[in-house]
């Protein structure tokens, strides 16, 4: 069916060959070929065939066919048989192994991963592409300027999977300074959650703190009576914010107070754990006062690094510097890591094929008779009901064509995975066509097992094959 219906527009869409030329017999008896006639050629059957058959058995016919038949027999038909035969032999062609290759196929980890990924591909990619195609087709249905949009979305189909692979490997680059996707993600993330300014900084006097996953809490408790010095190190001078003022040596206010500063003077002349005149306070550091393990109050440091808990005028508290002060910046996702690699590659496939689905479905939408829609509306159906009860059933054949075409296509997907998945995660992204290549040619060097995988792929498309043949025969009747 897929071939049939997808093929039909190509031939049928054209204007019928110019029938009105001089050669035409006046009052031509032959039925006028409708534009879609080529897909279901009724005419030859109706009149012509018997006439020709009675006249000659056309030996030129065989001559015309000969080149095609030889090529098809030698390079397509015979290989199918050979591959099936070869799949019963081992690595060495002389070594008959029966069904062992098929058993290995379903027990070998690499092939099992490939099968699992193929299932994911077949379950996800065609459905996503078709849904997007439907949405795009509906959105652009009556918009005239949408032509440019459709052209743009259709364009990737002209491009090789190799080039698409290079494009998306670049898009998915993990470094947000190179990969555009992570750059966009980091940009959006940082708007809502600004990155911590003091990545990698830590207290100078590690002994005085308890470190819990990057959150530093003082071991001592402090009362409002003293200035608590919280000196940090591990921060390059150029990371000190430009608004930082020389660190405070005294703080006004009656609450628990202290100073957070970079306890490091250039040249190494400073006194550890004490504020030196050349040392700078660190603004914007979050400080929490903790009592019995509970955060009582939070504040942030001033430009000179000072902080005051104005409400905490009595008692004693541990001070805590939460890990958010020192967290590494958000760098986006590892798109090509083991978990995300398959979804990422599927997304690039969607990028290629969405235009295909959109154009076919759009054509299907355009072919729905307006009367049917109007009739339903007159009967009082809501717009959603019209879509669900009238449009969708009439569109179903197109959707099925698109889905099946994509399923057959996805089963054989090879290039995208071979190019996009980096060597380290290629095993996680493996699919049957790739495994077949790797096993037979790309180092595996086991053409018996490779043949078994090829036969398996072939068996998977046999339903489509039978469907094509039966449908075609039905139309011939």
């Amino acid at each position: 069916m897929t071939d049939k219906e997808t093929a039909a527009p190509a031939a049928g869409d054209e204007n019928p060959p110019p029938a009105g030329t001089a050669v035409t017999t006046p009052g031509a008896a032959g039925p006028v070929e409708p534009a879609d006639g080529t897909s279901a050629p009724p005419k030859r059957k109706r009149g012509g065939r018997t006439r020709i058959t009675e006249r000659v058995i056309s030996w030129p016919g065989l001559f015309f066919l000969l080149p095609a038949l030889i090529l098809l027999a030698v390079l397509v038909a015979w290989p199918i048989i050979y591959t099936v035969w070869r799949s019963f032999y081992g690595k060495e062609i002389t070594n008959f192994v029966g069904l062992d290759n098929y058993r290995d196929m379903f027990t070998d980890d690499a092939t099992l991963t490939a099968i699992k990924n193929n299932v994911i591909w077949v379950a996800v990619a065609p459905a996503v592409v078709t849904s997007l195609g439907l949405i795009f087709a509906v959105l652009t249905e009556r918009i005239r300027w949408a032509t440019a949009f459709k052209l743009l979305l259709f364009m990737p189909l002209a491009v090789s999977f190799l080039a698409v692979g290079v494009i998306f490997r670049f898009v998915y680059d993990q470094d947000p300074n190179i990969g555009v996707l992570n750059a966009a993600l980091v940009g959006i993330h940082d708007i809502f959650k600004p990155p911590s300014e003091y990545t990698g900084a830590r207290p100078r006097d590690a002994q005085a703190f308890v470190n819990q996953g990057g959150t530093y809490t003082t071991t001592d408790a402090f009362s409002p009576a003293q200035l608590v010095p919280l000196g940090l190190v591990g921060l390059p001078q150029n990371k000190v914010p430009s608004n930082a003022a020389p660190a405070a040596t005294s703080v006004a206010g009656s609450g628990v107070h202290g100073v957070v500063w970079l306890d490091f003077a250039p040249g190494g002349q400073g006194t550890p754990n004490a504020v030196d005149p050349t040392e700078k306070g660190l603004p914007g550091v979050k400080v929490q006062a903790v009592q019995n393990g509970k955060v009582i109050e939070s504040t942030e440091t001033q430009d000179n690094g000072s902080f005051v808990f104005t409400d905490l005028t009595s008692g004693s508290y541990n001070l805590r510097l939460p890990s958010s002060n020192f967290a590494p910046p958000f760098n986006g996702a590892t798109w090509l890591g083991p978990t995300l690699v398959t979804p990422s590659i599927i997304a690039s496939y969607v990028w290629v094929w969405a235009g295909f689905a959109m154009v076919l479905i759009g054509a299907g939408l355009a072919a729905i008779p307006r009367e049917a829609l109007e009739a339903a509306r007159v009967d009082g159906a809501t717009e959603f009901q019209v879509f669900r009860r009238v449009t969708m059933p009439l569109l179903a054949p197109v959707l099925i064509v698109v889905l099946i075409t994509l399923i057959i296509n996805v089963l054989k997907i090879f290039d995208l995975i071979y190019i996009i998945a980096p060597g380290s995660t290629q095993p996680d992204a493996n699919v049957l066509a790739l495994q077949m290549y790797l096993t037979s040619f790309g180092g595996g060097n086991n053409q018996g097992l490779g043949s078994a995988i090829a036969v398996f792929l072939f068996v998977l498309v046999v339903p489509a094959m039978i469907f094509n043949v039966r449908r075609f025969r039905r139309e011939q009747r």
Partner: protein, 300 residues
């Protein structure tokens, strides 16, 4: 037949505005919102391609340290140096010409052989014709994977493994079922009277083929030509197996650079762009036939 066959899949909006769900959505959301949505989608589709183009015009050092989007603030980075290096790289230049040497014959041969066969299946009668054509229909969806191992062996025996001839023959053979199917269906729609008239004038089958079938079948032949051209031009797997380092096309030469993706980006980016610019030119020049060809041949 289903609605699919009657439809006109073109990229241009046709007919009067239709009152459908779409128009209701548009009215409800406001045309402005739909416009914004479509522009956003178009942007997502354009950015990856645009990124590759820009990256191919930036020096390697810049690509390694900053994003391609920084060209908007520092346009001075742009240079053709990567392309100059590419055109000085004999491996890449040879591979580009190999692509042409493979694609052109593989396309022409398929068109020629399939036209002859399509005519025979549509208009000539001989024993087993319908049966044979069903076989062709059956072969439409055969995955090329089943051909790889046997044909590698066959080519080894024939001594054409690693040659351009081998790659071309493989593409021709696996392009034929679809090509025959497409052309036969189109040729069958040519009015009988035209053929009868030519026959009456004493034309041989070959004259009819040349004078009637080919000119009238041109639209389908054009779609097929473009489809097959792109199919072969864009192929990686077949060439990966059947071509050697002397006969490898651009896709294979570039694929070998992807192993060290970051380090070779100054070759990969312009190379990938060169390899995709030819199909894009075909796409924009023959848009109509292209759309039909791809829609028709997507099944492969």
């Amino acid at each position: 037949m289903t609605a699919v066959a009657v439809e006109q899949p073109t990229l241009t909006a046709e007919g009067a505005p239709r009152r459908g769900l779409a128009s209701r959505i548009v009215n409800r959301l406001g045309g402005g919102l739909v416009l914004v949505l479509l522009v956003a989608i178009a942007f997502i589709w354009l950015v990856p391609l645009f990124g590759l183009l820009v990256a191919s015009l930036r020096p390697e050092a810049n690509n390694a340290s900053s994003g391609w989007w920084t060209v908007f603030t520092e346009p001075s980075q742009l240079t053709f140096q990567n392309y100059r290096n590419l055109f000085d790289n004999s491996t890449m230049v040879d591979a580009f010409f190999n692509t042409i040497y493979i694609t052109v014959p593989a396309t022409l041969l398929v068109v020629l052989i399939a036209s002859l066969a399509g005519y025979a299946f549509a208009w000539l009668d001989f024993p087993g014709r319908d049966w044979l054509f069903l076989l062709v229909v059956g072969l439409l969806v055969v995955p090329i994977q089943v051909g790889l191992i046997p044909i590698a062996r066959l080519y080894g025996d024939l001594g054409i493994f690693g040659s351009i001839t081998g790659v071309v023959l493989f593409h021709v053979a696996f392009g034929l079922p679809f090509a025959i199917f497409l052309l036969r269906n189109y040729f069958a729609g040519i009015p009988r009277d035209l053929l009868e008239a030519a026959r009456m004038d004493g034309g041989t089958e070959f004259t009819i083929f040349r004078r009637v079938i080919i000119p009238l079948g041109l639209p389908a032949i054009a779609s097929l030509t473009i489809f097959q051209f792109l199919w072969v031009w864009n192929d990686l797997l077949v060439a990966l197996i059947f071509a050697d380092s002397k006969s490898q096309p651009l896709t294979v030469a570039l694929q070998q650079q992807t192993r060290q993706f970051g380090a070779n980006f100054d070759v990969l980016a312009p190379g990938a762009f060169v390899s995709l610019v030819v199909p894009l030119i075909v796409f924009f020049s023959f848009q109509r036939y292209f759309v039909q060809g791809v829609l028709a041949g997507s099944v492969k």
